[in-house]
């Protein structure tokens, strides 16, 4: 990889687009919704320049099915939306998971449930990490906290989608989407544009016909497919990313992801200045979840407080990870409120007083 030293000042939404273009994404299918509109807007002008196709679909449902079609043809393709729009895409996402179709889906999480608001929230953690649509499946879920990570992880998402032939979700929020930050773009090398050559629907001239489907009616076929999926999800477990900050001597470890993760970092710095032994554990992959790293911390006797911009979702995974030796408390930041470091410092100080 060649790092260009020149930094650019862009919204997280734009960082995602720049990352996708660097990863040679060739199709984008979108439908407008705040707070992710800069993604389709920029894609509409930039994608044609790089020889790709931009389609504003007639609905989220259509966009997600177009994504399935492009992925089945082995084309590096992406869609983006925000919470209510992502709900509409779930049918196609389930079909993609069921048919081993690679694709990248971006969710700039907004307040919910229902139409909620257009501010940041993390209410879609369950939906993202448990599949979201019907059936028994998982997405790879990457949760950037900064503009740079939005760029880097978008590039990575295309590689992962093709490596595992699976839909990958970039899970951000309205903070990430709307915030501008200085990022350093870079161009990945060795991208294999023909990664689907052995399975993609590329035209059956001079070869056996291929079929990509999620319907398995023959006796034993669906069980076989589910077994294969299980094997794939097991393989994915080796791909985890996380950040540990000031955990080494920490008595209490705050677990937070995405934008709340970076806000928690400010809180940890402030609390450290006051002499409190607090650290931060920030999962970057939400699925697979960095359970082993958390368990290792738990075995050192550390205590855990999970803080999310929802009523408590990732805390389930934290508790599962450390269940043999420890437990995690939880503090919510309510969707609809704009999170600030004090939202983390408050519950931590309360926890420290009450221990």
């Amino acid at each position: 990889m060649s790092k260009q030293p020149e930094r650019i000042f862009v919204k997280g939404n734009e960082a995602v687009v720049r990352g996708a273009l660097a990863a040679r994404c060739k199709c984008f299918f979108g439908y407008p919704i705040t707070p992710q509109n800069e993604i389709p807007e920029l894609m509409s002008s930039e994608m044609p320049k790089s020889g790709g196709e931009f389609v504003q679909a007639e609905s989220e449902v259509a966009a997600a099915n177009m994504l399935l079609g492009a992925g089945a043809c082995g084309i590096r393709a992406m869609t983006s939306s925000s919470s209510p729009g992502i709900s509409l895409k779930q049918e196609a996402i389930s079909y993609m998971a069921g048919s081993n179709t690679p694709a990248v889906i971006v969710n700039m999480n907004r307040g919910g449930p229902g139409l909620g608001d257009i501010g940041p929230a993390q209410g879609d953690y369950y939906q993202s990490t448990r599949g979201g649509g019907h059936g028994d499946y998982r997405l790879l879920v990457l949760a950037p906290a900064t503009g740079q990570e939005a760029y880097d992880l978008t590039i990575k998402s295309f590689d992962l989608a093709y490596k595992y032939r699976n839909p990958v979700m970039i899970l951000g929020d309205a903070i990430l989407g709307q915030m501008k930050e200085a990022i350093t773009p870079w161009q990945p090398e060795g991208i294999d544009d023909e990664a689907g050559r052995d399975w993609a629907l590329s035209g059956a001239k001079d070869r056996e016909k291929r079929l990509i489907k999620s319907l398995y009616l023959e006796e034993g076929a669906l069980a076989g497919q589910n077994k294969n999926l299980q094997k794939k999800y097991e393989d994915m477990q080796s791909y985890v990313e996380y950040e540990e900050f000031e955990t080494e001597d920490a008595e209490l470890v705050v677990c937070a992801y995405g934008s709340i993760g970076r806000i928690a970092k400010s809180a940890v710095r402030n609390l450290r200045k006051q002499g409190h032994k607090v650290g931060l554990f920030r999962p970057i992959t939400l699925y697979p979840f960095p359970s082993d790293a958390l368990l290792a911390l738990a075995k050192q006797g550390k205590k855990f407080l999970t803080i999310e911009h929802n009523l408590g979702q990732m805390v389930d995974d934290v508790r599962l990870a450390i269940r043999t030796v420890a437990d995690s408390d939880f503090a919510p930041i309510y969707p609809g409120n704009l999170p600030i470091p004090e939202d983390i410092e408050g519950p931590v100080l309360e926890w420290l007083e009450g221990k």
């Binding site: 608001d117 709307q178 930050e181 970076r262 400010s266 704009l338 600030i340 470091p341």
Partner: protein, 183 residues
């Protein structure tokens, strides 16, 4: 001490607070700092103010959202009412005294600099440059960077159709800086 500043910039919609927030952050990046800029919306939108938060730091930036900043640029009265109580003790408050009665400034608790932004901008020939006057004063008062990277950034932050106004905006930045230098 590592260079660090956070600021809430607030005023009426249309006063150009988002523009100078962008310009400040962009210039900070050009000057080698880490920067974040976030337009604050949602519940914050109600109450008659448009505002944004900028963080400039030599170190990695954690939260891009700040409740109690170390500095403010306040362009109108509702913004003063809303944000001055949240300014950290000893913080810096750049106040547009063309539209705000300086008796309302909390001068005992924070450092307040009165900048008659609209009057100065009017004298320079375009009242819409009041925001640049305020930013010029802010750069001078904080010393976070020289004025030059801000001036140099105008061509990148302003859309091309406004490039003819760069000399006038430069003048406005300088005029604001002069006010703060004398304060």
């Amino acid at each position: 001490m590592a260079r660090y500043l956070d600021a809430i910039i607030a005023g009426f919609g249309g006063q150009g607070v988002m523009l100078i927030g962008n310009l400040l952050a962009y210039a900070g990046m050009k000057d080698g700092l880490n920067v974040t800029y976030i337009p604050v919306y949602g519940p914050e939108m109600r109450g008659g103010t448009a505002n944004c938060t900028v963080v400039l730091s030599e170190e990695e930036i954690g939260s891009p959202i700040i409740h109690s900043p170390v500095s403010l640029i306040i362009m109108n009265r509702p913004s003063l009412d809303k944000f001055q109580p949240r300014l950290k003790d000893g913080g810096l408050n750049i106040i547009n005294s063309s539209l705000i009665d300086m008796d309302l400034a909390d001068a005992n608790r924070v450092k307040c600099i009165a900048v008659p932004c609209n009057e100065i901008a009017d004298k320079l020939g375009n009242t819409r440059m009041a925001n640049m006057v305020a930013l010029g004063a802010y750069i001078q008062a904080t010393g976070i960077m020289e004025l030059q990277p801000v001036i140099d950034s105008l061509k990148d932050v302003l859309s091309e159709r406004y490039h003819k106004l760069i000399p006038a905006n430069t003048e406005a930045l300088n005029a604001g800086a002069e006010v703060a230098a004398k304060a």
